[in-house]
């Protein structure tokens, strides 16, 4: 079970969090149709460091971005997103 260092709550078990998407897949409603298809419906899907959007759903409910190595699960550079960022 990964340990995710929440910027507000400190290190917590990843069962308290939910993965939402890679940051590249964040699509605003006002994007162009091509950008939408590119961001939402295709992925770089790297084997290695990947910038991701998670939420501390069963903790402080805040959103965070972090870099996680998809092979070793090493987690670095955790930052709050949006409100209170």
């Amino acid at each position: 079970m990964m340990l995710i260092p929440c910027p507000h709550c400190g290190p917590r078990a990843h069962a308290e969090f939910t993965f939402d998407r890679p940051v590249e897949a964040i699509t605003r409603p006002d994007e162009t149709p091509d950008a939408l298809v590119r961001n939402l419906f295709s992925r770089e899907n790297p084997r290695g460091p990947s910038r991701e959007l998670w939420r501390h759903t069963y903790g402080c409910r805040s959103w965070i971005t972090l870099t996680r190595d998809t092979a070793t699960h090493a987690i670095t550079d955790v930052r709050p997103v949006g409100v209170g960022a």
Binding site: A13, D20, P29, P33, L53, T57, R61, W63, H73
Partner: protein, 982 residues
């Protein structure tokens, strides 16, 4: 005379107490501190079980968890545990155990006939035969399955409980042998929060079977002293606890056996406990596992590991046999020979495969003082019947010599236990001389000390472990103490040579590498000849190392054979993957508290107890439970539901809708946020008014629907379906926090703040007027606030049933009084309660789409006839994605109504021209006209919007039911909505 016997003195057992137990129907005795293995060995038992394929007799090989052969069924009834290692069960009074995988009995097992056809059933034979159609394989399979499997399957539910517990520490030490104790002491003295776990029943590890002098005192006393000091330093000490899995970021799962297999638990009823231990640093001190030697019939009962023979002697006071011969390629066996002789047990000879000049002369002298020692001698064949070995044939320069013995103690050297290091993602070094892999790069916070790091000399292990303890304490923020590490007497002899290659002339087909799965060197050679040359192919083709011991004593010998066949060094050939659990772990323990009824949480609405008192049939909706109907005596579910539906159409009914999603959005940008989340316009809504809305997913398909209400200039209430509530909470939070963090708005999830009670029917207005003080019943799609029985309520005039209806929102902890008041008023109007079934009948007749029904995650706004409500200004989630070409395909499945031209329409059935014709759609909901005759339904039909009037067959082959139907508008009841006007 042959077989084990209890010596009059010695062993760490409590001879003052006698424990009685049964094995295969016979009574035996033992003492506290015995394992089932040591007690049976003391009782002269030699055959413990039968092997998987050839059903050859199996004795006791080891003393620890690496035991591959002595597997028994332990306990009775719901506590019966098959495949239990006799070495991993500490004796208790009244234990009942049985041998397994034999019919009719252990002594006479018909399965042994497989040995006659052994030449025709080598590894992988089943891939080459039993060919033909699957129907033929089914017949063969029936026989194969009956023969396969080891223990008897349990068939009763488990009466005991399993607890799961989180725990945290700075330093976790796995293994409480000399190295583990030293590391734990160093870390604890330095002030770290330490946990020390060991799978044995007491601390000491290898010292229990191999006592030594440490810090000038016998190891027994040293251990007791260290344990006392550790407890004084608040170290959490867990015995009978196995570190079974090393997971991400130094989380280690520890399986604690609170009770022995089959034993009764204490008052708390807990049989085992799983610890989720999060550690800062992990010090692995798991020790090493001894390797057997390759010779013919080396699987005979009586062939045992040399360290095990020593442990049975020193720890359990049991001589494994009357006359013992030792064969070794390591110094370790010398200690066994010396201790046996000192205890008066007859040692026929100590046979060392290494040349004389490869052995320390001082060690040879010590052994030769006590028993004959020969060097350069390799074992060739175990002599003796299936019942048990009677001697060992060996080859030496002078020729073959056979030594008579009832126990052949073997040692091919020690293999460091690198399982957890590898599970953590570590890598390995290879030492060709000793034939061992040792831990290299850790990758996580683990370090290996002592024998599991390849450090077999006690003095060296103690010092190395002490340093590791200090480093771990410092790494977790504590100042390391300056004390000196524990010192032990110097016993320098710890050399070993790998002895994987059998003596010349030995028949590989008779050399057992994996005794439980009956895998021989011959099988490994066959696999290699046939091209299964990756270590993983060899393992899977021969099933080497796939038994319950997972190859703890066999994997390396198998790997060495492959390397020999390949002509490549072992590290290039590689090992198979180390996977959790380290030792097999009870499924009930994995399930923890969630077994049985608590497999998932049960969410109760605030009015649950009021419903439960009427004992309604429940409908699971996610983790919620909602009443389906309130049956009166003599009613079936169907008749009750129809009565309730008619009641709502004619008088008034109330129902609990508390599970709906509810969000209170407030602030200057509240409308702006809602117009991102909802696909309909919201900002033009007048205060006090509400309207239907729906939400799209980012891929443009409909996600959920609900209603939105303007409570104030900057305050809205948004509702969504029960099924969609959690999805909507996530979507709103994503839009608010990630996409538009700068909006001045707050979005509160008030799903559980409000209980919600729907009041529907022609007399609903009268009920509201009678019960709610301080307001006039709001007109349709309007809201107002009032008081019911002293409780402040919000009343919104929304309808799902198609009747004039209201939803009364009250704070959850005050809702019971509101329900009772409304219920009494409804009964006064000849109305009453209605449940989900009636609600479904009503909404189908009205033609409302439902999340999970028509909104099936594959339908668009246009498919569901909702496109006209889309917000013309756009900017809502999913807006762009719904412009993709396929959304305009004419043959999309579109929402329609169905009128039956005959009987009831089977719900879920396929819409076809005629049976067997192409499927053109399916029935999403089936119902009936509540106050008139006729069966109706809702459906999704290809190009449905343009096919009003078409006639089709609603066909259900699985229920052999069908109905001819005509496509129509999906609104059967009051399409114009006149009933909403007062």
């Amino acid at each position: 005379m042959s077989g084990g016997q209890r010596l009059s003195t010695g062993g760490l057992i409590d001879r003052s107490q006698t424990l009685r137990f049964r094995f295969d129907g016979r009574d035996y005795t033992g003492h506290p501190g015995d394992t089932l293995a040591s007690a049976l060995l003391a009782g002269g038992v030699r055959v413990f079980g039968r092997s998987f394929k050839y059903h050859r007799t199996r004795g006791l090989l080891a003393a620890g968890v690496e035991e591959p052969s002595a597997l028994v069924g332990a306990g009775e009834g719901g506590r019966f545990e098959p495949n239990t290692r006799a070495t991993d069960l500490f004796l208790y009074d009244g234990l009942v155990a049985e041998s397994q995988n034999r019919w009719p009995s252990l002594a006479l097992d018909l399965g042994a006939v497989n040995q006659l056809i052994a030449p025709f059933i080598p590894a992988g034979f089943y891939y080459k035969t039993f060919l033909g159609p699957p129907s033929l394989w089914k017949l063969y399979e029936h026989v194969i399955r009956a023969a396969a499997g080891l223990g008897r399957p349990p068939h009763l539910p488990d009466p005991d409980r399993y607890e799961r517990r989180a725990a945290f520490c700075d330093v976790l030490v796995v293994g409480a042998g000399p190295a583990g104790l030293s590391a734990a002491l160093a870390a604890a003295r330095s002030g770290a929060r330490v946990a020390l776990v060991d799978l044995d029943s007491q601390l000491g590890g290898s010292l229990l079977g191999d006592p030594a002098q440490i810090d000038g005192q016998p190891s027994k006393d040293w251990i007791a002293g260290v344990e006392a000091e550790l407890r004084g330093l608040a170290v959490r000490i867990l015995t009978r606890t196995t570190a079974i899995g090393y997971y991400d970021h130094d989380m280690v799962h520890l399986a604690e056996r609170v009770t022995e297999p089959g034993a009764l638990p204490g008052p708390d009823g807990i049989a085992q406990r799983m610890w989720r231990m999060r550690a800062g640093r992990v010090i692995l001190a798991q020790g090493a596992i001894e390797r057997p030697l390759p010779f013919e019939d080396n699987d005979r009962p009586g062939v045992m590991l040399s360290g095990a023979v020593r442990t049975y002697l020193e720890r359990f006071g049991v001589a494994a046999g009357q006359r013992i011969v030792l064969a070794t390629s390591s110094d370790d066996a010398y200690r066994t020979a010396i201790r046996l002789c000192d205890a008066g047990v007859r040692v026929e000879a100590l046979l060392d495969g290494r040349p004389a000049d490869g052995i320390d002369p001082a060690l040879l002298r010590r052994a030769r003082d006590r028993c004959p020692v020969e060097t350069g001698v390799a074992p060739v064949r175990a002599v003796g019947p299936a019942r048990g070995v009677t001697g060992l044939e060996t080859r030496a320069a002078g020729g073959n010599v056979t030594y008579m013995a009832d126990v052949v103690a073997v040692s091919g050297g020690l293999t460091p236990s690198v399982h957890l290091h590898m599970q953590a993602g570590g890598s390995l070094d290879w030492d060709e001389g000793q034939g061992i892999f040792t831990p290299k790069d850790p990758r996580q916070g683990q370090v290996s000390v002592g024998a599991c790091a390849g450090r077999f000399r006690l003095a060296e292990a103690l010092a190395d472990a002490w340093r590791a303890g200090l480093v771990a304490a410092e790494a977790t923020g504590h100042r390391p103490v300056a004390d000196a590490p524990p010192r032990s007497e110097i016993w320098p002899f710890a050399d070993q040579a790998s002895a994987f290659v059998p003596a010349p002339g030995v028949n590989p087909k008779k050399v057992f590498v994996d005794p439980q799965n009956d895998v021989t060197l011959g099988d490994l050679d066959l696999a290699w000849r046939e091209g299964y040359r990756s270590v993983e192919h060899m393992k899977r083709y021969t099933t080497l190392g796939m038994a319950t011991d997972q190859g703890k004593t066999s994997n390396l010998m198998g790997l060495a054979r492959l390397a020999q066949n390949e002509g490549r060094p072992a590290p290039q050939v590689g090992l198979t993957t180390f996977r959790p659990p380290f030792t097999p772990t009870t499924l009930g323990l994995w399930a923890g508290e969630d077994a049985g009824f608590h497999v998932t949480p049960l969410r109760r609405t605030p009015l649950y107890d009021l419903h439960a008192a009427l004992d309604p049939p429940w409908q699971a909706v996610g983790y919620w439970r909602r009443p389906r109907a309130y049956l009166r005596s003599g009613e079936t579910l169907a008749t009750a539901a129809l009565r309730e539906a008619r009641m709502v159409r004619t008088t008034v009914g109330i129902t609990d809708v508390s599970t709906l999603g509810k969000f209170e959005v407030s602030g200057p940008d509240a409308a702006a946020l809602l117009e991102r989340v909802c696909a309909t316009s919201v900002s033009k809504l007048a205060v006090g008014r509400g309207r239907y809305t729906f939400m799209l997913r980012e891929d443009g398909l409909v996600n959920d629907d609900g209603t939105v209400w303007r409570l104030g200039e900057d305050r809205f209430l948004l509702t969504s379906s029960t099924g969609g509530a959690d999805r909507m909470a996530g979507l709103i939070s994503y839009v608010r926090n990630v996409l538009y963090p700068d909006l001045r708005v707050g979005a509160a999830n008030v799903q559980e703040h409000y209980a919600a009670i729907a009041v529907a029917g022609p007399r609903a207005r009268a009920v509201i007027a009678a019960v709610v003080e301080g307001m006039v019943p709001p007109r349709h799609m309007s809201l107002d606030r009032g008081v019911v029985a002293g409780v402040p309520v919000l009343v919104i005039a929304a309808s799902y049933s198609g009747e004039r209806a209201f939803e009364v929102y009250a704070p959850s902890h005050q809702a019971a009084a509101v329900w009772t008041a409304l219920s009494d008023a409804a009964q006064a109007q000849d109305g009453g309660l209605y449940g989900l079934e009636a609600l479904e009948i009503l909404r189908v007749e009205k033609g409302h789409v439902e999340t999970g029904g028509e909104i099936d995650g594959r339908t668009s706004a246009h498919d569901l006839r909702l496109e006209k409500m889309l917000n013309p200004r756009g900017g809502y989630m999913g807006q762009l994605a719904q412009q993709r070409r396929a959304f305009a395909d004419p043959d999309r499945l579109q929402f329609v109504g169905l009128e039956s031209l005959g009987g009831p329409i089977p719900e879920g059935s396929m819409l076809v021209e005629r049976p067997g014709f192409a499927v053109q759609g399916h029935v999403t909901a089936a119902g009936l006209r509540v106050l008139e005759e006729g069966f109706i339904g809702l459906a999704l039909l290809k190009g449905g919007r343009a096919r009003l009037g078409d006639e089709l067959l609603a066909w259900s082959p699985t229920r052999t039911a069908s109905a001819r139907v005509r496509v129509c508008e999906p609104h059967f009841h009051d399409p114009a909505g006149e009933r909403y006007r007062d």
